[in-house]
Amino acid sequence: MMRNDPIKHVFIWPAVLVVLAISIFPLIYSFTTSFLSYRLIPPIPPRVVWFGNYATLLQEPRFWNAIVTTTLIAFIAVGLQYVIGFGVALALNARIPGERLFRVALLLPMLLAPVAVALVARMIFNPTMGPLNQFLSMFGLANLPFLTNGHWALACIIAVEIWQWTPFIILMMLAGLQTLPEDVYEAAELENASAWQQFWGITFPMMLPISAAVVFIRLIESYKIMDTVFVMTGGGPGVDTETLTLFAYQEGFKKFNLGYTSALSFLFLIAITIIGVTYLALLRPHLEKRR
């Protein structure tokens, strides 16, 4: 009876239109633009090039370099964030003295704006005035080229990412740890299970679903890294630390090469989707075992 009531359109259509306007239309517009050669500066009339932008990008070494750089940052940073974050969460969950103070202090980095963090990091890694090199020189060590050598610069960016986002992992893992049932651990202790056996046999498997979700969120977020790199190195030296989003920014907002940038965004979307799907496919057997 209710199913045929025309009033349902009054409730549904505004929502559909809003979704179309703010989500679907820009996506379609961007997808269409990716098939055009379209520059705002210098103004060149749009011209259909079909898959030309995609083909150019796939042959562009800078694009592949950005893929590798972003993947390195994402996987190394998230991997270390997870290990450190899980470790700290376990420590905080063990009700150590001053646990509340540690919890607040450890969460602070996450609350700061990435641009501010990157600016502070840039000063810390400053070659002549930075405290880190001054500290190292006290031990007779030479000035290290923190932001002027590609490998060092990448390591610095990863270090900053870890410092800022490990608190997110701590927060989520701690929440997960606090929901684990106590009786399982009591039973394990009766069986004389060691701390390592308890962790590997109980804690880790039970935390797997939340671990999978947390790592997935961080991985996707890390692929979108832009502000930290922009402030710390600007993508340099050369293009050694240029990430996909920074590459897209340079093409879109410096050169105003809109067609090419749209194609780049869609390739980025495809790459993220492949990584996401592969990640979930690899984890599925382990997660299903837990059900």
């Binding site: 520059r39 705002l40 500066i41 210098p42 103004p43 060149i44 800078r62 400053n126 070659p127 002549t128 090199n133 000035n143 080229p145 923190f146 932001l147 002027t148 050598n149 590609g150 190195t233 600007g234 993508g235 340099g236 030296p237 050369g238 293009v239 050694d240 340079q250 907002f253 410096k254 050169k255 105003f256 090469n257």
Partner: protein, 486 residues
């Protein structure tokens, strides 16, 4: 009752008179008008705009709101606003190189402003070249930019240093005439154990790096026998950036990076100024800000010891037409108008165009701009004849010797016979981005100078074809002051 009415009438009359007087003080009267100006983040340029804004407010009762963006964000913000025909900004301050991209959206300067004493006072290099695009004036210079040479007079005049230098290199220690001498001096003063290094230049990507490289290369590529061929062949629009002159310039630029403070590769112009003012280096090249900051006792350890000169040159310059080195009887300096000095323009869509141009007039008047030029941190360098002629004005910050050398270097550079103009082309950022990337690789030793510049040349030619070779050629010739090609 009567008394109260009388009191009210008297008060109203008094208020009306006061208002009348206030309006009379506003000439022209722009009360109620608020102009919005886009600027890079201060203090450089933004503080000069604020200085001009205060004067304009006193004169016209109008208000000026200076909106600041980081340097790297300024171009995108202005382009987005202009291309969307959005009247966000009544005025935009910008780099001369961006003018070709902005021209379709800017209004022409009123003819009345293009004549008179103040107009003639602007140095011809700006008035007749940088402010002009295809015969029309769309903007006004509010800053003069040419690279000059800065050195420590105390070191250069020390008899011990002079003797030691002559014994080692076989010629007198003095401001260098050639880039080889510049590198010799840097090498001589490279004493890390004493906290002294040879030179400081910008080497960081996004840190004004490529202008410093262009300054080196100008000496070997700006050939008076084939004018306008520094960046491109003005007949064919073929990129010249990988010719032997440019390669030599890059080799010397890389050599300079090894004669600077530790990790000089991370230096932008700000760090160059800090190194000079901190007495860390014996010499440096850069814009006029360096001299002004280094002379300021509040900011500098070498105040009173700041010498200036025209950039080094060469007696051999590559000829892009004959593809050979031309030999000249004497060293020919090629002062490079790096960046070229900030311009200010009025978008066509602006709602207060008359007021906006009036603000430009006040901001760039000899009095206001002269004050800005001698104020450290405004980023304003001399661009008017009156700026460099008025020694008394400069005696506030310089010693007589410093002032003489600084103003001499500025005036001789701007009016130099072989002054090299910076590149101005539509799609400027597309051209300079690849230069920055390849410079970074060459400085890091990941590629050779020749290979780096070959990559740049290839990309420049590709971009030129993509943007339209004929259109780009016409624009390039206009930028270099050459007549249109038939």
């Amino acid at each position: 009752m009567l008394r109260r009415t009388f009191l009210m009438l008297t008060t109203s009359l008094a208020m009306a008179c006061a208002a009348g007087q206030a309006n009379a003080a506003c000439s022209p009267d722009y009360s109620g008008v608020t102009l919005t100006v886009a600027s890079q983040t201060g203090p450089y340029i933004a503080s000069a705009l604020k200085l001009g804004a205060d004067e304009w407010t006193k004169k016209t009762c109008g208000k000026v709101n200076v909106v600041e963006f980081p340097w790297s964000e300024l171009y995108p913000k202005i382009v987005t606003s202009l291309t969307a025909s959005d009247a966000t900004f009544d005025l935009v301050s910008f780099a001369p190189a961006w003018l070709p991209d902005f021209v379709p959206y800017l209004s022409e300067m009123p003819k009345a402003m293009q004549s008179g004493k103040d107009w003639d006072d602007v140095e011809p290099a700006y008035r007749e070249r940088l402010m002009v695009w295809e015969g029309k004036i769309y903007s006004q210079s509010m800053d003069g930019d040419v690279h000059t040479y800065t050195y420590r007079m105390d070191l250069f005049s020390d008899p011990k240093e002079k003797d030691a230098f002559k014994a080692k290199y076989g010629y007198d220690l003095a401001p260098p005439k050639t880039w080889k001498q510049y590198l010799d001096i840097a090498e001589f003063f490279q004493r890390p154990d004493k906290g002294l290094w040879g030179t400081a230049e910008a080497f960081r990507r996004g840190g004004q790096q490529f202008w410093f490289f262009f300054s080196h290369a100008a000496a070997y590529t700006n050939n008076p026998n084939y004018p306008g061929a520094m960046f491109f062949d003005p007949e064919t629009m073929d990129a010249q950036i990988n010719n032997p002159g440019w390669v030599k310039g890059l080799e010397e630029y890389i050599r300079a990076s090894k004669l600077g403070p530790p990790n000089a590769l991370n230096f932008s112009f700000g760090e160059v100024n800090a190194a000079v003012a901190g007495g860390q280096v014996a010499e440096s090249i850069g814009w006029g800000d360096t001299g002004v900051i280094a002379a300021d006792p509040k900011q500098s350890k070498i105040s009173g010891k700041v010498g200036s000169a025209v950039l080094p040159g060469s007696d051999e310059i590559w000829n892009a037409k004959t593809k050979k080195w031309d030999k000249f009887p004497a060293v020919l300096p090629a002062p490079f108008m790096a960046f070229g000095g900030w311009q200010i323009g009025v978008p066509k869509v602006g709602k207060n165009q008359q007021a906006a141009w009036d603000f430009v007039k006040t901001l760039t008047s000899p009095e206001v701009s002269g004050q800005a030029a001698i104020t450290g941190g405004t980023g304003v360098n001399p661009y008017r004849k009156s700026h460099t002629a008025n020694l008394e004005l400069w005696s506030k910050i310089f010693s007589p010797q410093e002032a003489k050398e600084y103003l001499g270097a500025q005036a001789d550079s701007i009016n130099g016979k072989n002054v090299a103009l910076d590149m101005r082309l539509p799609g400027y950022f597309s051209y300079t981005e690849v230069v920055e990337i390849e410079l970074g690789k060459a400085l890091a030793g990941q590629t050779t100078p020749q290979a780096a510049l070959d990559t740049v040349a290839k990309e420049w030619n590709r971009l030129t074809d993509e943007f339209g070779r004929a259109k780009q050629l016409a624009a390039y010739r206009a930028a270099m002051g050459l007549p249109p090609k038939n």
